[in-house]
């Protein structure tokens, strides 16, 4: 069990995170917040890249800082900007990182082709990464995070640069892995987590706003989400009068979705809230940042 025990992180006078308290058991946790909310700071503290100013993070009762390499042995990490050596091939790079992770050469040589196949890079495993696309590099990053079969997998914006097929494959992979490990992935893309996460963690105002299963989060807005159609010419007036959370075009009309405590009009139908509604409602304009 991983516990973030009343952790704060300050950079001088700047507060990056304040009094964060979280508990993780095996499963998938989606850290959902707009850019700049403090997701990466929390991620970096979880992987011991930075230390909390206050509080501590414990794994099975022991402070992860004191565990040192014993903790890092259990860790798989994909940073937001995954760094690599351009003149290395994925196979060579993974072999290098295997050595740093204390995996024997023999074991690594067996494991690496399987992992690269898993992320769809088996055909280019010996090609230099210099000419790889962003999505391909990200897939190398995912493979390296899985090298040591980590008990704690921390992924910072893992789907950045992946196309829809790769995203779907990645989600499937995470679901398969989640059975006996803690997976924490940060994202600001709702669809990355809504179908796979056991719980969603939302950060607002430098602290944890919610840590709940998706169903419970959606219940927060139950009976308060309405949808209606409006003509294009009325759209601007509509936007000014109501706090819409989303809008889309459908059959030559605008479909508005908004939160209201009471039904403003009989013709406007109440709909089931989604995670995206919660996200947009919580973060408002900031969600689009």
């Amino acid at each position: 069990m991983l516990i973030v025990d009343h952790v704060s992180k300050y950079y001088g006078n700047f507060i990056a995170l304040e009094n964060v308290h979280l508990q993780f058991d095996n499963g998938i946790y989606g850290l959902l917040a707009p850019n700049g909310a403090g997701k990466t700071t929390l991620m970096k503290m979880l992987v011991t890249l930075i230390f909390p100013t206050k509080g501590e993070i414990r794994y099975n009762g022991e402070n992860i800082i004191h565990l040192g390499s014993k903790y890092r042995e259990l860790l798989g990490y994909l940073p937001q900007q995954f760094g690599y050596y351009k003149h290395y091939s994925p196979a060579k790079y993974l072999l290098y990182l295997s050595a740093l992770k204390g995996i024997s050469k023999h074991e690594a040589k067996e494991k690496i082709p399987k992992l690269l196949k898993l992320v769809g890079l088996e055909d280019v495993m010996h090609k230099k990464m210099r000419k790889f696309s962003g999505g391909m590099i990200q897939r190398v990053g995912i493979a390296q995070a899985l090298l040591n079969d980590p008990k704690i997998l921390i992924l910072d914006e893992p789907t950045a640069g992946l196309d829809p097929t790769e995203r779907a494959r990645f989600r499937k992979l995470l679901t398969q892995l989640a059975n006996d490990r803690i997976i924490i992935l940060s994202t600001h893309i709702v669809s990355d987590v809504e179908s796979i996460a056991n719980e969603i963690i939302m950060i607002k105002d430098k602290t944890i706003l919610y840590k709940k299963p998706i169903r419970e989060l959606c219940q927060l807005l139950s009976g308060r989400i309405y949808e209606t159609a409006a003509d294009f010419q009325d759209a601007e007036i509509f936007r000014k009068r109501f706090a819409t959370i989303s809008e889309k075009q459908e059959n030559g009309q605008m479909i508005f979705r908004f939160v209201s405590d009471e039904q403003p009009n009989e013709n406007w139908k109440s709909v089931e809230p989604t995670l995206e509604d919660v996200f947009l409602h919580v973060y408002g304009e900031g969600a689009l940042a």
Binding site: L49, G83, K101
Partner: protein, 252 residues
């Protein structure tokens, strides 16, 4: 009712304690010593990965030695180097090769794209650095030996004495450098130490060359051996400290 009178053998307190100690000894993994850990790390990571940038290191060493040799040879035309000056030079510049390799390694390391991933591995960048620094210090000692051997042929200095002087200087500086690495996180702190070392030695030799050189030359051999050994001991102690602290150290 015979069962009531039956004696059940019960272990004494001493036996209980012995059994507890036996269980603990068998159950607990023995903490490896610093050298065992270093050796395991080297075995698991491998020479190729520990010295992944071997070409850059070799280039840095060749460049440093070439600059030093050029400095001595070019100044020899205008300045007559006496044996005493050479001893000053040796004491002053012995840590240069070591400093250049280690310092550039630390500068380059943080600029490397894979730094964050490497820092979260079982053997992180700083642990590898501790091992590399130890190897560099051995290498620098040998490289200094070669340079001093060359200087001995050119300037008729006493090789064993000059070598001892160099070893003492190298390990004193290396220990101080490790201290700065641990407690002064800024780049300028490391540079300041190096500049101070050179400047202080040059200043002392310039201001009162007689006293400075008399100190360097009149100290008996065995004192240099003691100083050298003590410096090595302090260095290894600092290295162990660096290793332990950086095992749990973050980037910021």
């Amino acid at each position: 009712m015979a069962i009531d009178n039956e004696k059940i053998p019960f272990p004494s307190d001493k036996e209980i304690q012995q059994e507890i100690q036996k269980i603990i000894a068998k159950g607990m993994n023995k903490k490896p010593s610093f050298w065992q850990y270093m050796f395991t790390m080297y075995r698991e990571v491998g020479f190729r990965n520990v010295f992944r940038d071997l070409t850059e290191i070799a280039f840095t060493i060749v460049l440093t030695i070439a600059v030093f040799a050029m400095f001595v040879l070019s100044t020899a035309e205008y300045f007559s180097w006496t044996a005493l000056d050479v001893y000053t030079l040796i004491f002053c510049f012995s840590p240069v090769v070591y400093f250049v390799i280690v310092f550039f390694f630390f500068i380059c390391q943080k600029q490397k794209p894979a730094f964050e991933v490497e820092m979260t591995c079982k053997y992180n960048v700083y642990q590898l650095a501790a091992f590399r620094m130890f190897m560099f210090s051995i290498f620098a000692m040998l490289a200094n030996g070669v340079i001093i051997f060359w200087l001995a042929t050119e300037f008729s200095i006493h090789f064993p004495f000059a070598f001892l002087l160099s070893v003492a200087s190298l390990f004193l500086f290396a220990a101080a450098f490790l201290y700065v690495l641990l407690y002064v996180p800024t780049k300028s702190g490391k540079i300041a130490l190096f500049i101070s070392w050179i400047a202080a030695n040059l200043f002392l030799s310039y201001m009162n060359s007689y006293v400075y050189q008399a100190f360097l030359l009149n100290v008996p051999y065995f004192i240099y051996i003691i100083i050298g050994m003590a410096a090595m001991y302090i260095y290894v102690h600092q290295l162990k400290l660096f290793f332990v602290k950086t095992n749990i150290k973050g980037v910021l």
